[in-house]
Symmetry: C2
Subunit: 503 residues, 2 copies
């Protein structure tokens, strides 16, 4: 189709429109290119600038917003195309995307091959899929609709389309929590203990997908997390560890694209999740990985049967890509610590690392359990003595020193703070807390603004078994705007009977 | 949330941006409303004007395109909100959409109840779903992933959310073809015969979903098809029949929304298809329906086993909503007639109705078969003599007179014409046509511009069994722009060995 480019030259125009991750190109309805090429609204077209090109969705403009020889571009599109205002761009038709037929086959319950999954992931990384097409792929692979072989294929495809980091250490440790439990922020503590023990543990974490905070969001209130691979390697060579955002190092560019849409849809997919986790571990060079699986009625994994099926898939896929995977089933019946939201969770983490008197012991004990298993997995300590060794490294201040050293190596340390607006939520009756809905609690924290507003969220002080007297504070909501505070409280008052049950 | 509206009053601004069916609202990043409410790009928000409101996706503007007290609206959003330039609008948060949890449940293979399907369809009709959420719903109900009970529930939900038309006639006939066979445009012929026989057959048709033409697209090149219910009733009371676009009479507003996204995704869903067809028949007041199911290797239905499963579901769902459904399995191994694309198919239809010597006999015979079954189903003629009666009404000119009368009653009759650009595709070798890929042929016609350009498409003259001599014309491509012509031919030359096999 090269011959079509010549007469399609347009000038790019900055419109300053933020469409988040979607590339949009704006063309005049009466422009020669729309008329000649037969482009209509929502057509997917290719925009070229120099050597680079992107696929974008067309919005047709019927006003003077643009001249007929201009192509407006969304901010994301300008960034990806590295184009400035008034630069020359050309547009052309998008060839049909072959890998979409695999998604249609999957809708008809065909099992996909590794080759087909590779083609899908390559097209996604090349930016060829629209958000609607990404939603279709996520939907057909949602729930437990991928076979173990498909998950292996998806994992390998994700590794193949990103960059892989290699380390000099023969053993590279890592951990992951499959999430769903608000406030379960063990990672910074575990990494500090393991690095203090002299093991290599270069941790890359994600930002929140559907939760009020990811480890990267929490770390970002205390230090820089957007390090490139070179900077990350410097930090690890100095401190044996780092605590950075995985997206900045492009370990799994396919996953970064998919996460945007799965976040908008608020869906979970077992296969996508396993592939996302293990592809990033593989790309980050991990050889030994501990996976924390909280099980509870309102956690991501609701019963032990589901946990066991997940464990068998994690271990099988790990084996196929040469990683030793050890899964732990943990209690998922209530939030961990007190903070829910990036900054509030950071305060809990610092409390534990600093051995403060009021620090949440549940968070501390979970971190020691995971660190203990990692120590045993490495062969560095004997079976059964891992948690004790970990406790020693935490309580003698080694872990805290290591944490501060990591933050400094990443550029700085900052103390977390509180959001501008706060409201206490008061118990209306007396009794004992008998059940907590972690999903609704997470939603409440998100409505308050977490993680977009890092200091927003919930300070939760009503664990299971607490004796409540009418008038007690159940939790405190923090938000950066009055609107979000109202919105979160509105949701609470509509759902309070389900959110925290007091009997 | 009413208290939030007051300080969120903005002036609407016409930007002239066509986003097709998606509502987009553009707000300045530094506007008080974005800052106070915590809105960010892709947030779904409610826009109010007077008594009406819509849900829209937010695009954040970082330039002078808008003032901080203005809300830019996409053309679709302005239309749906009935708002002009500079009118006052307010914005507020969107309450979480409850029915999305049903879609997540379906991802985990739960079966949905009629009540849950109703909630989904109501939210879709209220415009609460984003395109990405619609894609998720379509994907989880794609293929044969809906149970028969779910299809019944979906059908009833679609009927309940649209308007129903009532007719004085005790018996109201209808027909439908499940499609996938290019050029199979029997409807205008069948309707003309049945109306000429004195039966009531108020036909509403769809525009193309994933094919190069729907019956409404084909009829539109000859007459007006966008009639409201009152005009439609006038036409039927005069001529016993009409041939209009179903979307204009809002028979199934949910389906109209879903079709946009299923078109963008190019996916088929058995359950969505059955619900779409039968909900529209029910809403249009039909009591007796014949369904044409072409079966062929590259048709929508590939084998008789699948056809039989489809028939049992069609009849079961029909029974549940009080419609007598009769399904016909027909040959789906090759295109019908010669034209593929709205105008080219209209020429075939007129050829048959006018009893022209060169008119395609395969199209004629299929129309007579269907008309015959409808006549027998009505009890008006004896079993076995339907096709003969139909042939009489066609060959004596009654059907043609009726067709012209229907077009005149709908406002006018126009002769179809050819597109501006054409190219003959020539056989490179001699032999016999042994196989035709209907899907690729349809795609070729779409790439040439059909149905968006109604005169574009393919004139196909190489049916199965034709003896070809190298140099013969296999088919002719018509397009309204050079770009589309090149694009279609490019696709042909990449796929020619699969498209038409000559041995």
């Amino acid at each position: 189709m090269e011959n079509l480019h010549a007469h399609n030259t347009l000038r790019s125009k900055y419109l300053g429109i933020d469409t988040y991750r979607e590339n949009i190109v704006y063309l005049r309805a009466d422009s020669p290119v729309c008329r000649c090429e037969g482009f209509t609204a929502l057509t997917r077209i290719v925009v070229h600038h120099g050597e680079s090109s992107i696929v974008a969705t067309l919005n047709v403009v019927h006003s003077e917003l643009l001249d007929t020889d201009e192509a407006g571009l969304s901010m994301e599109a300008m960034k990806r195309l590295s184009v400035g205002d008034s630069d020359p761009v050309t547009v052309s038709h998008l060839e049909p995307i072959g890998s979409l037929s695999h998604i249609r086959a999957k809708m008809h319950r065909y099992t996909l091959t590794e080759q087909q999954l590779c083609e899908i992931i390559e097209d996604i990384v090349a930016g060829k899929y629209s958000n609607v097409e990404l939603a279709a792929f996520l939907s057909v692979s949602s729930g437990n609709n991928l076979t173990t072989d498909e998950i292996v294929g998806l994992t390998k495809a994700m590794v193949a389309t990103g960059q892989e980091i290699r380390w000099r250490a023969p053993m590279v440790m890592d951990k992951h929590c499959i999430g769903g439990l608000p406030g379960n922020r063990t990672t910074p503590i575990v990494i500090s203990i393991i690095a203090a023990a002299g093991l290599t543990i270069p941790k890359t974490s994600s930002r929140s997908i559907t939760s009020p905070a990811g480890t990267a969001d929490t770390m970002e209130v205390m230090t820089n997390v957007e390090l490139d691979i070179e900077r990350m390697k410097e930090v690890v060579s100095r401190e044996n560890a780092c605590l950075v955002w995985g997206g900045a190092v492009s370990l799994s560019p396919a996953d970064d694209v998919l996460i945007t849409v799965s976040k908008a849809l608020d869906i979970d997919s077992e296969g996508q999740m396993i592939a996302s986790v293990l592809s990033k571990k593989k790309a980050a060079g991990a050889t030994h990985v501990v996976i924390d699986i909280p099980v509870g009625r309102t956690a991501k994994v609701r019963d032990r049967e589901h946990a066991r099926s997940l464990i068998s898939k994690f271990e099988k896929v790990g084996h196929e890509i040469d990683i030793i995977v050890k899964c732990l089933i943990t209690d998922g019946s209530q939030p961990v610590g007190r903070g829910i939201g990036p900054a509030l969770e950071a305060m809990d983490v610092l409390g534990v690392l600093r051995n403060e008197g009021g620090a949440p012991t549940d968070l501390k004990n979970r971190a020691l359990l995971i660190a203990g298993v990692l120590l045993e997995l490495s062969g560095k300590v004997e079976k059964g003595s891992g948690a004790n060794t970990a406790a020693g490294l935490l309580e003698d201040g080694s872990a805290y020193s290591k944490f501060m050293a990591i933050c400094e190596a990443q550029g700085r340390f900052m103390e977390p703070g509180f959001a501008a607006f706060r409201r206490d939520v008061i118990a209306l009756k007396s009794g004992t807390v008998i059940s907590i809905d972690c999903r609704r609690l997470a939603k409440l924290a998100k409505l308050a603004g977490a993680p977009t507003s890092p200091n927003a969220g919930i300070l939760f002080v009503s664990p299971l078994g607490r004796k409540i007297t009418g008038g007690d504070v159940l939790f405190t909501v923090y938000a950066e705007s009055q609107g979000e505070l109202e919105y979160a409280l509105h949701y609470y008052y509509k759902n309070q009977s389900n959110l925290i049950q007091i009997l």
